[in-house]
Symmetry: D2
Subunit: 345 residues, 4 copies
């Protein structure tokens, strides 16, 4: 009955097994062991890119902030959707890692950066003028914070625009698997082939204890990321236990299976809620998140019954967020829909 | 045969069990669950301090840097032994979290800050003069980086001196358990009762996957730490799995048992090596680290046999470091001594 | 024929005289001389505040950024009008001095923060939530960047709102004299009596070589400002020559006389332009700036004749800025109006 | 009778004239005027370098910190003599502009970096190791803080060593003219021809109101410097008045004449003091500074007579600093020597 966040779900048994199995005797620390080597090899295969560099960290905030810290100078700016996680929920971490680069919100419907808005902004930017912060990075989130998924074509269009003005592109992929599942798309095509330079790839929300990986497709940025990661305190000594999680996450396409299940449950919930009187979906449901406008009587009723979800998303009095995960139970989803229907009267 | 670092050792089975057991169904994220509450209660009991605040993170660098970031303003300075970990091995993390506060090395034998050197430095500091960075924090390491242990009396003397000049005191306790075991001392007396304001308490080196906890005895600093931790990307979403490790670490005094074992093994090694011709111990062995000056023939022989240890500590051509842990095998220690003796000829 | 900025105007003769006269023999450096002491005494009299502390610097960007650096912690936020100079034209300086605090733009007509918009923002702010940057400072600009002047009552209303939520208030007073002249208001009532904690008071735009002064009405912030100013490289060694400028600026109310003249010239221009066909004033003209939407034919004609002004203000294709100063010649203003009328046909 | 610092001396009349003459009518701001263009042309001629870029600022701290901010990444280190001004007297400004790069003191006699000590440090540096801050800049001070002058050969030797390890070289030339005069050396040979990449060239100590210029011989660093300067609040709007000072400073070799006079007075003082019983010179007197160990009775006697000088240099109870400048009067120097002799008894 918990729909608050993927992070309230348990860890997937396959991940638990992998960590327990990695605990065999002594192993070198600081990524000089086999688990990390294997993880990098796996990622190169998954993304079809022989030279990518992979840097595990244990929070999504770190994955984003370390990447951005390597990509932007202090007097530069990071363009992102105004609703992006780096803008709303990371306590200023990107500003810390960039030593003060500015985040500038670009508009667009349902969490996606609007190419026309981005083009307009870039056209009017005062490049080369020292009085103005200099746009240097475009950060896209896929799944977006509104639960929608960019197609690889949409990503490519935005990347081309960014590159035209000399910006690099970062992708916050905390729910990258859900985006791939939503779009039935390939990892490489959704990232570097579309023009993404650095991807912050999450696994925590899809079943690990806590493991995110900064994937750099740009060899020149790898050195920066390595030093910035250590400097931020994110270079984990007993690295095998983090890399082992990431390895297991990709093993036998567990990541995609988990994402498909979560997306499926979300679709169930969305279809159910859309039939309830007085409830309206706020955004298209591409992935594993459902944003719904609900009557107070329903919200209060659900809470009384012990349902957990994110009330008043973005301080909105009528909007609430439900997140589904690999551990969601379709029957519980059905019960939630029925309870909503009953409460709505 | 691995004596490189405690971080190459496996995780203690009790910790593994605790993490696996914590994986039961859904639980709130971001420390709003029972494991974290229990952890704080445990720490309050262990330290005999009802108002301490505890902030888990997953690396020692983060535990130090976040604490210091809360304690020093950018134009201030942190005094520490010139050989402290924050000075030598954290890639500038304290500078990042303090936005540029300076670390100033104080001298002293065997890794301990010399009270006379500290007093002299403070007496000559230009307090209130804007041209000079302002000493604001004394950071002590216990165990020191030389493997020696301050007594609580030594800590108290240094704290009193620091407080006299208005400085706050931080303790890097990556090996705090080993220091307590070495000095047969109580946690409270070694920290806040001696004058320590914030303790970065390690558990990773003594048997967990990766869990350190910033213990603030100063309520005014707690808010700073909370915000700085998030801002650094160190607020772990699935917090139960970190707090569960810390809980198990203190359960039935596992921490002290582990530390005593590691210290015991180090003593065995030290006693053995001190009888070998041509080998000299560089520092007194209070805890679980042995620093030895060794003939090249011994070093090369050990490496050929597959022994792992930290060669050329601090770029010193003749000094090498051996670290013992909860997982060290006394028989392997004996074999190491015998091999040294044989190689020394 | 130069209406680009007050900074293209010459320095007022009384200021030149004061600087030349200060060059008499040796004098202590770093503000331990009489000119700085006199300057502080003058400011205390002008503002009717016996304990204000005054910190001269030589650019407006420094006056704002140093002040904000003392007022906000890195994880906090500064609220300002979206069109404020600190947001648009200081190359990220506030982010540098605050080590990454975020600036958040609040809306409002004609450059003024709308109290309702501010109240709404504060009401929805997640105070105490580590995931969100914490609003800590309200920065008001008077004259605003749109050339309008807050009344002291409007300032007081906004300050009260800010203080209610625990924020401190900064005022960017690069054109403070023009605002006082516009509102026929007293310096104290427009600043600390209305609730302003720190004022960045400009003199450069009103006739000095380059002298701004950070006026702190909050004794607790003075220490921070002193250290941050030095750390930013803004503590001028030969301080007498900066303080002498500020002293002369206030002598015999030169500042208000200069501001009244500039405002008067702007009013002349505004009245003239408002009679020209096809030209529209974009904002009310309270002070010394005129923002006008003009037909291209007029703009091109003026440029051909050698007029200088700020074309395409804020990248707007039709909006242009004309700034008047102490050195503006009313006859030139008349000629400009006539030329516009002629060109407009 | 003031020997505290060059900054207590008056401004040279030729500089005053130049500033007053620059105040003729309107002129573009932000270095888009003729004075700045002329200044750059002059510097290119003086240094014999057609592509140098010049960035005026108004304090020496800014000249150093902005340059270093452009040269070092946050995880890097700046090597300098332990007694360098950036280390001892700039309130942490280099740490601010570099966002936390560390300054590491290298030893050497009389204020000069010892090439052997530098070589040893570089040899032992852990380049490429993320746990260690990475040496990236060597900063030399000429005149040194001990008043000695490097020869261009000594500079070239240190630069070659630095470049061999991939470091860039910065020179703090707050007293660059005094160093050239001391060594009868050419500006180009003492800087870029010897391997210096960026020079912070002072004029304030030699007769201007407040004007320093960052001279970049490395085109790639110019962009960084330009943005960092603005971001630090050091891009002066009424730029003509700063550039005019620098122009006049080089006119007819005024800078070298001033430096020669100051050096000459220092030599007079040094020769005089060296004959006084109980007084010892601490360092060779190459330039315009005299460091003397003096009996207390002499120090107290001088102060009673109203002499001003820097007592207890570097907190040393017996060492005191006397600085000579363009405005020093040789007769006053003689009187000072006589008074010392008389007081020494």
């Amino acid at each position: 009955m918990d729909f608050t966040s993927e992070n309230t779900a348990p860890v997937h048994p396959a991940i638990v097994d992998a960590v327990v199995k990695a605990n065999t005797g002594f192993a070198l620390n600081f990524e000089q062991e086999d688990w990390t080597r294997a993880m990098t090899a796996t990622l190169r295969r998954v993304f079809g890119h022989d030279e990518l560099a992979a840097f595990p960290v244990v929070t999504g905030t770190a994955a984003n902030a370390v990447a951005l810290g390597a990509m932007a100078r202090p007097y530069e700016a990071i363009l992102c959707h105004w609703d992006a996680h780096i803008e709303t929920d990371e306590g200023g971490a990107p500003e810390m890692y960039t030593a003060g680069a500015r985040q500038i919100g670009i508009s667009g419907g349902h969490g996606k950066v609007d190419p026309a808005a981005l083009a307009r902004f870039l056209r009017n930017s005062r490049f080369g003028n020292v009085h103005a912060v200099q746009p240097a990075v475009l950060s896209l989130t896929n799944l977006t914070e509104a639960g929608t998924a960019y197609s690889s074509g949409e990503v490519a269009e935005l990347c081309a625009l960014a590159h035209e003005y000399g910006l690099k592109v970062h992708m916050d992929g905390a729910r990258f698997a859900n985006a791939l599942a939503a779009r039935q798309e390939d990892a490489g095509r959704m990232s570097w082939r579309a023009g993404v330079d650095v991807l912050s790839l999450g696994t925590t929300k899809s079943g690990t204890f806590g493991a995110e990986v900064i994937v750099s497709f740009d060899p020149a940025l790898a050195r920066e990321i390595a030093f910035m990661r250590k400097r931020g305190g994110h270079f984990v000594p007993k690295s095998r236990f983090v890399s082992a999680q990431i390895g297991a996450y990709f093993q036998d396409d567990l990541w995609l299976a988990n994402a498909r299940h979560a997306n499926h449950c979300a679709r169930l919930l969305a279809q159910g809620l859309s039939t309830v009187r007085g409830i309206e979906l706020v955004h298209p449901v591409d992935g594993n998140e459902v944003f719904a406008a609900m009557p107070d009587v329903v919200v209060e009723g659900l809470m009384k019954q012990g349902y957990r979800f994110h009330k008043n998303w973005r301080s909105d009095p009528v909007q609430h967020r439900f997140v589904l995960s690999w551990a969601s139970d379709p029957e519980e989803v059905s019960r939630l829909v029925q309870d909503c229907a009953r409460l709505a009267g």
